[in-house]
């Protein structure tokens, strides 16, 4: 009996030595580490960032709309909060409209949003309880643009390849989201999420977010072209970034009412 226990122990240790990932895949800590790295790579590269963005929104009937704006972002060095401003230039109807967000990464804390309406010279505070609503009519949600707080989900490793790892995530508060779970594929070299598949109650993928093209800019791996697809209607939105710059010397007072009325052009070009 004692010999059998020794052999079984030896066999178990051998198996662990051969296949470390399969055992590691059951560890939520390992999965959380990947999720943290992906969140940092996708939304927290550089303390500040500026990018010019354009979107092509195609609905299920193949009708097209276009959006163009410039995005400014600054991280709070003490926590995961962020400040963002979106300066719209297209379509003409929203030209010079500015959207300001103070993202609060804490649980159960909604973001603070303001909208500047140039025709009225009015800064209006906006009620913002649901982050999973369309961002400016596109298939991207506000949460896709500002980042979903990974503390709201639990993660486990679904698949571990040499170059990619896939995490299966479920929301801690299922009633707060429309998905049952999502599968996020992370590039091990860049830590960027390259694909996110959202699954419904039947296990069918109904929505997909993809990084179409990535580049390294100032040492930061960056998604420069992405796509969100509504697999139910056939609609999608293509988003393209250019003129990306990190670590701009943007002070906190740029993210105030003054910039809504008088955009800081020195940071927008």
């Amino acid at each position: 009996m004692k010999h059998i226990r020794c052999w079984l122990t030896f066999l178990l240790l051998s198996l662990m030595a051969c296949c470390p990932q399969s055992f590691a895949s059951t560890s939520p800590t390992e999965a959380k580490k990947w999720a943290l790295k992906a969140e940092k790579a996708a939304y927290y590269s550089g303390n500040t960032a500026r990018s010019q963005v354009r979107m092509m929104i195609v609905d299920g009937q193949q009708r097209k709309q276009f959006r163009q704006f410039t995005l400014l972002r600054k991280n709070n060095v003490e926590n995961a909060d962020q400040q963002m401003m979106v300066f719209f230039s297209r379509p003409a109807e929203v030209k010079n409209t500015v959207f300001r967000v103070e993202k609060h990464a804490g649980n159960n804390t909604t973001d603070d949003r303001w909208l500047y309406l140039p025709a009225l010279d009015l800064v209006k505070r906006i009620a913002s309880t649901d982050k999973r609503t369309s961002f400016v009519g596109s298939h991207f949600y506000y949460e896709d643009v500002s980042g979903r707080n990974i503390r709201e989900d639990t993660f486990e490793i679904a698949e571990d390849k040499q170059s990619e790892v896939s995490l299966l995530a479920t929301a801690k508060l299922p009633d707060s989201v429309e998905f049952t779970s999502y599968l996020v594929t992370i590039d091990k070299a860049t830590f960027l999420p390259v694909k996110i598949d959202y699954l419904d109650g039947k296990g069918q993928v109904y929505r997909r977010v993809e990084a179409i093209e990535t580049k390294v800019i100032q040492g930061f791996p960056t998604v420069v072209k992405s796509k969100v697809s509504d697999l139910v209607t056939g609609g999608f939105t293509l988003m393209e970034f250019r003129n990306i710059q990190y670590e701009l010397a943007i002070s906190d007072d740029v993210f105030t009412e003054r910039s809504l009325r008088t955009p800081p052009t020195r940071f927008l070009k």
């Binding site: 097209k64 276009f66 003409a92 010079n96 025709a119 009225l120 505070r125 309880t129 052009t265």
Partner: protein, 416 residues
Amino acid sequence: MRLIVLLTLFLFTQWLNAQEMAESADSVWEEAWTDWEDDSTLNAFFEIGMGNRFHRDPALLQAATMRDTRLNISWQKALDRISMSPEVELVHDAVTKKFTLNVRELSASLATFEKADIKIGRQILTWGVGDYLFLNDLFPKDFQSFFNGRDDRYLKAPSDAIKFSYFHTLLTLDVIYSPRFEPDNYINGEYFSFYQPAINGNTSTSPHVQLPNGGEWSTRISTQLGRSDIALYASQGFARSPLSTDMQGAPAHHKMKSIGLSVVVPSSVGLLKAEYSYYSIPRGQALISHPPNESRWLFGIDTEIATSLVLNLQLYTEQFHNKQPHEANNVAVSNRWLLTTGLNYTTPRQYWSFKAFHFYSIEDNDGYLRLSSSYKFNDTTSITTGINYFYGKKPTTSFNQFEKASNAYVRMRWYF
């Protein structure tokens, strides 16, 4: 005839847009981002609007409440420390039979100092937290445009002003000086009749009103405390509507001062907002009668009750002071309570939006309902239809006096 023109223009633009989309639908994503290379940009839209009242108004001959043909041109030029943003409109109004050049904005913004900006010229000025209710926003309004279905932007009328803004880490100070008084475009009979106590009925005849001479000052200090927005207000100027009577017995704009404050607080149920203002009428004015001093209160909440569906509720009151009988020069007024309900919905791709807003006067038991629906055919073409409906029991009350003003309208806009 106008409807035929509207339909023809619509079909033509749809054909044009289809050609543009067919030719460039796939190529547009490969085109250069030329929009970003130019510091100055010219924008324009063309709009046709038509509206008719539901019922004949004996005080007004025309059934038309809106017959607009409008060309709006705006231009932005931003240099290092100065930016300019002129906006002009050529408008043909077949109701008033006028062809006008409206200058909505002709100003220059100067980033003169590191922490201060100055904006000089004709501009739209807005502050306060109410939706369609104004306590500390005493800048000129256009209520005729509000009632006849023009775009919401036209509720705010432009004024000539110098606006100085100082930006400190802890607060922002705005000081506005308008050298020339500009009244509200109140209901004066051009489009809608109004109740006249002297004849105990509605009239479309408005007497000439002498405008006061003198400048006006408005000030606001705003700050963010935690996640809440707080502002203090003060102003000195004249009442926008001629609510007083001068020594010749004519309507007059009395001098007035105001102070106030507003707060917006985010909560788990939505945005909570409150605003207060106090209007005081300085003594010693050459007036036979004037309204008494007044306090206005507003409490409201904005909340998203479903995806892209926002509900707005407001409770508003006007409380008059010094209404004692011995105050012989006070205009007879009564306290007022309003309950407003607003709903805004936009479809996910923003092709269609729906707005409803209802004013209800609790003591008068009358109200005003605004419904509008907008549909975007594409990024450049949209159509808006809507209804303005006034109701009540007595023909003399604030809203129901405009019962014959109830109207429906349609507007089409093309950006190019």
